[in-house]
Amino acid sequence: MRLYWELARYGFRRTAIYRSAALSGAITNTFFGFLRAYTFIALFQTRGEVGGYVLADALAFTFITQGMAALIALWAWWPIAETVQTGQVASDLSRPYDYQFAWLAQDYGRALFQLVARSVPPFVVGMIAFGITVPTDPLIWLAIIPSIVLAVAVSFGWRFILNLTTFWWIDQRGIANTSMLVATLFSGFLVPLAMWPDGVREVVYALPFASMVAIPIDVFLGKLQGVDLVAALALQAFWAVVLLALGRLVLSAALHKLVVQGG
């Protein structure tokens, strides 16, 4: 356990080295937040409420999503693929720890840094510029923590599998493009799922991608109460377990394929 704690700290420090990258990333995230916020402000002049979202919700949604992109590494995260390409993976696999959990621990360290560096600043700017507010209900704060922890686990489970495809397909750019598209669209990153067409929305909500972005946001905005809240957290937990288990299967298949040259 202590080992994984150290790995998480290592993941935190490793990400924290790139301070200027984090700063400029946060600036870019915030700028896009502004653009999207103005779009919603103009759209909501034609209607007061859509799918249970009012303008204030949409503005909060905008700045939370901009912050979450880095938190769950929605777009680019290929450190495992790089170790496969360089051969480093062989020595990583022979270390006395659980390979998947070791990466998961590091990913939590990374996510914690991104939460501080990339998620909070855009939101604070949004609070100042657009008057978005934080929830006052303590129950929401109690629920948002496990929801984010699970969102990181689900997204890690997904990214772990994507990275392992490098064992079969050394050039991961095609996979990267496709996964970016799927995750961006179905996570409810661009448009709140509540505004999606009926019929499509329910299906997308059940997919693992909604557990990465849409559910934590709905928890934060207080859209999920009581039984719905518990069910949403359960859905996140379900996908975390399924994707992590699937990742272990893919890993064992990859190990059958791995041939280490030299010695």
């Binding site: 600036i27 896009f32 103005y38 034609t46 209607r47 050039d171 095609g174 493009n177 496709t178 448009v191």
Partner: protein, 309 residues
């Protein structure tokens, strides 16, 4: 960098051979004869060199046809996501600032097409930071052709065609959705708007790259003006706050990429009250902005000292 590294491998000078160049003997394909007399800054040799370098890259990338197709399709779809978003939003909202879905799609397609072409052309400027860090920019300086053309030709990725196709598809859809009474001047404005948009985005890439001569690291803030700029021009200008609008009119002239030409083509009223003649001025503004960018570039190259490794 030691002397040994820049010398080509193999016998030096190489034995004359009819298959030299492109024959896998480590030598680059011979460049057109005119290049030998190339003078820095001269337009014509720079252009010939540019064409030769781009041709070489394109044929290299086409060697991996499967990879190219997968990536181009990926680029197409990745940028198409934003458009799907737009369609979803308009299912729930009738219009934005008085613009319908078709009209916004027109802005979106125009901006996307211009940005896509500039993205295809300007990959080299995006990679300048790496050239400076690795010291390969020194090599650029020693060659008898302009630095601008060399860097411009440095990284042309044809997979980015996917983005261009996406812009064209969106623009085509938009034109079929809105009723445009096409006239010759409107067609001319449309074509010149695309060209002007490419030049304006290119100038942004160049200025962003020129800044790296001082900062070494690519300032990711450049993304705000490139990718962010593309997002900005996809929606009608009046939705933005006044400060933002002024900035993107007078400092970085993104308003000329899509909003002003679209007002002319779609015959829409401008609540911002900008002089209508500006709707035709995109090419002039683009050329001026590019000259500013070239000036920044020249300053940057003069300031360049190498990273010392």
């Amino acid at each position: 960098m030691s002397l040994r590294d820049w010398r080509p491998r193999g016998p030096y000078p190489p034995a004359p051979s009819p298959v030299r160049g492109g024959g896998g003997d480590g030598w680059p394909a011979p460049l057109p004869r005119a290049l030998g007399r190339g003078v820095p800054g001269r337009v014509l040799p720079d252009f010939t060199l540019y064409a030769a370098l781009v041709r070489a890259q394109v044929s290299a990338q086409l060697q991996y046809r499967g990879s190219f197709v997968v990536q181009a399709v990926g680029q197409f779809l990745a940028t198409f996501v934003d458009f799907i978003t737009l369609v979803f939003l308009f299912q729930r909202f009738p219009s934005i600032a008085g613009w319908t879905l078709g009209e916004v799609a027109f802005l979106y397609g125009l901006g996307g097409l211009a940005f896509g072409i500039s993205d295809l052309l300007c990959g080299g400027f995006d990679g300048l930071s790496k050239m400076i860090r690795l010291g390969t920019f020194d090599r650029v300086l020693t060659r008898p052709v302009g630095t601008f053309a060399q860097v411009l030709a440095g990284d042309v990725q044809i997979r980015r065609l996917g983005r261009i196709v996406q812009g064209m598809v969106t623009l085509g859809l938009a034109v079929s959705w809105v009723e445009v009474a096409w006239t010759a001047p409107k067609v001319a404005v449309l074509v010149s708007a695309v060209v002007a948009g490419v030049v304006i985005f290119t100038a942004i890439w160049v200025i962003g790259a020129a800044i790296t001569f001082w900062t070494v690291e690519t300032s990711e803030v450049t993304n705000v003006f490139t990718y962010g700029g593309e997002a900005l021009v996809s929606y009608p200008m009046p939705i933005y706050a006044e400060g933002l609008r002024r900035f993107f009119t007078f400092v970085v002239p993104l308003v000329f990429v899509s909003y002003l030409p679209a007002l002319y083509i779609l015959e829409k009223a401008d609540p911002l009250g900008l002089p209508p003649v500006l709707q035709l001025c995109s090419p002039i503004v683009a050329v001026v902005f590019l000259l500013v960018a070239r000036f920044c570039w020249a300053l940057g190259v003069r300031h360049y000292q190498g990273t010392g490794s």
